[in-house]
């Protein structure tokens, strides 16, 4: 018989501490759907997605029931649409509509992959796709978009950085009547992973198999509660507790990934061992940092605490899964994290601190509301700064900022659901226009020359 304490611990993690599987994401390659006729291409995409993911949602629900672990999202990621659009030409929004229709048919929460990879320059299809992002996000509900503008190997494509500043503003304007939801579904990456199951940045990379199952775990509440049990432990003890907890969380992710893969007869890709917060009370990454001893997230010491957390999560999770990938680490999306929202409201957390945190967390400046009148070049400069941190440190960084149209610093912007909501944060408006307008490429750093 199993240990009673172990059984009750697992149930408490799920019932009280919000342990869940954040997402089962099916990656589907659309490379065999390319056609010179865009209509035909869209039909093939719809057929392939609905065929491959026909049982994704029902299988997810079945596993949820049998194992008693909530699986919050069932999602799909596809080959970057710019690659498909390059073959057919035409208006890429047609693809967004085909994807939307497929998402509604199979009942998934999101489809990611309205994407382009332009770290070194624009290929056929890339520019048209990027230009169409605001319209695509405004006319669909389930589509997520991402653009990779830099990498450690390629450097930073500053023409794309400049372009993306404008696209973020346009995406906000195009959805101003829907609470500026557009840019909340758009991520600008440096070093984007090709197997990420988390939205809005998921896409199915060109090196991936035809179809694959990736799973993203969650569980900030579990870590936070485990730390409550050692109020006086030193930081070595803290790291140990985080590791052990991350191990347990990831083992559940691995189990669900293996089961989903077996039942759907689709190969298992990776488990993304991330701590993904939600706006629910008790499910916050900021609260873990505060449990470590910070009076409020954002104070001096926050970056060090986050570095410890991020590293310990990886160390604990890595042995629990046969294949680890995606973003894997602690997320710090401001509007999706109750502790971060409070810290941003009180002024304890500012964008400079968040930028420092992105050097040690798993992603970047995520879900940050900025003033609606922020010039495009300022957003481009934010993207360039983040990309530089990612490029130099050989890590993924990303920017998902939301210009809150018609709102100023201190006003609130809410999205609802997992995307949450929060205050518009203050950012520097001193102009970087000349620097951004220079264009060109920031050369790949010396760290890229590893051969």
């Amino acid at each position: 018989m199993m240990n009673t304490g172990d059984i009750l611990e697992t149930i408490a993690m799920i019932e009280e501490e919000h342990l869940d599987i954040r997402t089962i994401t099916m990656g589907i390659s659309l490379l065999d759907c390319c056609d010179s006729d865009i209509k035909r291409s869209c039909e093939k995409i719809y057929d392939k997605i609905t065929r491959k993911s026909e049982n994704l949602v029902s299988t997810g629900e079945q596993i949820e029931k049998e194992y008693g672990i909530p699986i919050i999202n069932k999602r799909i990621s596809v080959t970057p649409i710019a690659m498909i659009s390059a073959c057919s030409g035409g208006n890429p929004v047609e693809y967004a509509k085909a994807l939307e229709k497929a998402a509604q048919t199979v009942g998934v929460n999101f489809i990611g992959g309205y994407s382009a990879l332009v770290q070194k320059g624009f290929a056929a299809g890339d520019e048209a796709l990027i230009r169409s992002i605001p319209e695509a996000l405004a006319t669909t509900e389930h589509i997520c978009s991402s653009v990779n503008i830099g990498s450690t190997k390629a450097g930073i494509n500053m023409d794309a950085v400049s372009f993306m500043g404008q696209i973020v503003v346009e995406a906000a304007k195009a959805t101003a009547d829907k609470g500026c939801i557009g840019p909340a579904k758009l991520v600008v990456f440096c070093n984007a992973p090709e197997d990420n199951p988390f939205m809005a940045g998921a896409f199915h990379g060109a090196g991936e198999p035809d179809c694959v199952i990736n799973v993203g775990v969650s569980g900030p509440g579990v870590v936070s509660n485990a730390l409550k049990k050692i109020p006086d432990g030193n930081l070595t003890d803290v790291a140990d507790v985080v590791k052990k907890t991350a191990f347990k969380i990831t083992r559940v992710g691995q189990l669900v990934a293996r089961e989903a893969s077996r039942r759907l007869n689709v190969p298992f890709g990776i488990v993304d061992l991330s701590l993904a917060p939600t706006p629910a009370v008790g499910d916050s990454v900021a609260h873990i940092l505060e449990e470590m001893g910070l009076a409020q997230c954002g104070c001096h010491g926050t970056t060090a605490a986050l570095a410890l957390l991020n590293d310990a999560v990886k160390k604990g999770g890595i042995m629990a899964s046969s294949h680890v990938g995606g973003l894997s680490g602690a997320f710090i999306p401001v509007t999706e994290d109750a502790g971060m929202i409070d810290a941003a409201r009180s002024g304890a957390l500012n964008i400079e601190r968040l930028e420092a945190m992105t050097a040690v967390c798993s992603v970047g400046l995520d879900m940050i509301n900025i003033p609606g009148d922020t010039p495009a070049e300022v957003i481009s400069a934010i993207i360039a700064d983040e990309a530089a941190i990612g490029m130099i440190n050989s890590k993924t960084t990303a920017v998902r900022v939301i210009p809150a149209i018609g709102k100023a610093v201190g006003d609130e912007l809410d999205f609802g659901g997992l995307l949450g909501g929060g205050p518009v944060m203050d950012i520097s408006m001193i102009s970087p226009a000349k620097f951004i307008s220079r264009g060109g490429r920031i050369p790949a750093p010396v760290q890229s020359l590893k051969n």
């Binding site: 018989m1 199993m2 240990n3 009673t4 172990d6 059984i7 009750l8 611990e9 697992t10 149930i11 019932e15 079945q62 029931k65 049998e66 194992y67 008693g68 672990i69 347990k248 083992r251 559940v252 691995q254 189990l255």
Partner: protein
């Protein structure tokens, strides 16, 4: 497959009997039972074999949950693998 049934709540007469009767009615074999009182709360853990179960697993689990809710008990039915994978290497 084998599942773990956990019952947590206020101790009353006949909880064990009712849950095991329900198992028997559905051809679910009870492999092991342990029960304790934790801080005045009744806590029972049953390991059951659902191989010959006559109804779908989800119905079995839903019905037990319903019974629990109508008797102020929290009842969970979960595949044993979730506990094994989390607590055993």
């Amino acid at each position: 497959m084998r599942a773990v049934i956990t019952v947590v709540g206020k101790d009353t007469v006949g909880i064990l009997a009712k849950v095991s009767n329900f198992c028997a009615d559905n051809d679910v074999n009870v492999v092991d039972v342990s029960q304790t009182i934790l801080q005045d709360m009744f806590c029972m853990i049953m390991l059951v074999d659902t191989e010959k179960m006559g109804i779908p697993f989800t119905d079995f689990s839903d019905k037990l949950k319903e019974y629990g809710e109508s008797n102020s008990l929290k009842i969970h039915v979960m595949h044993e693998d979730i506990f094994n994978s989390m607590h055993r290497i």
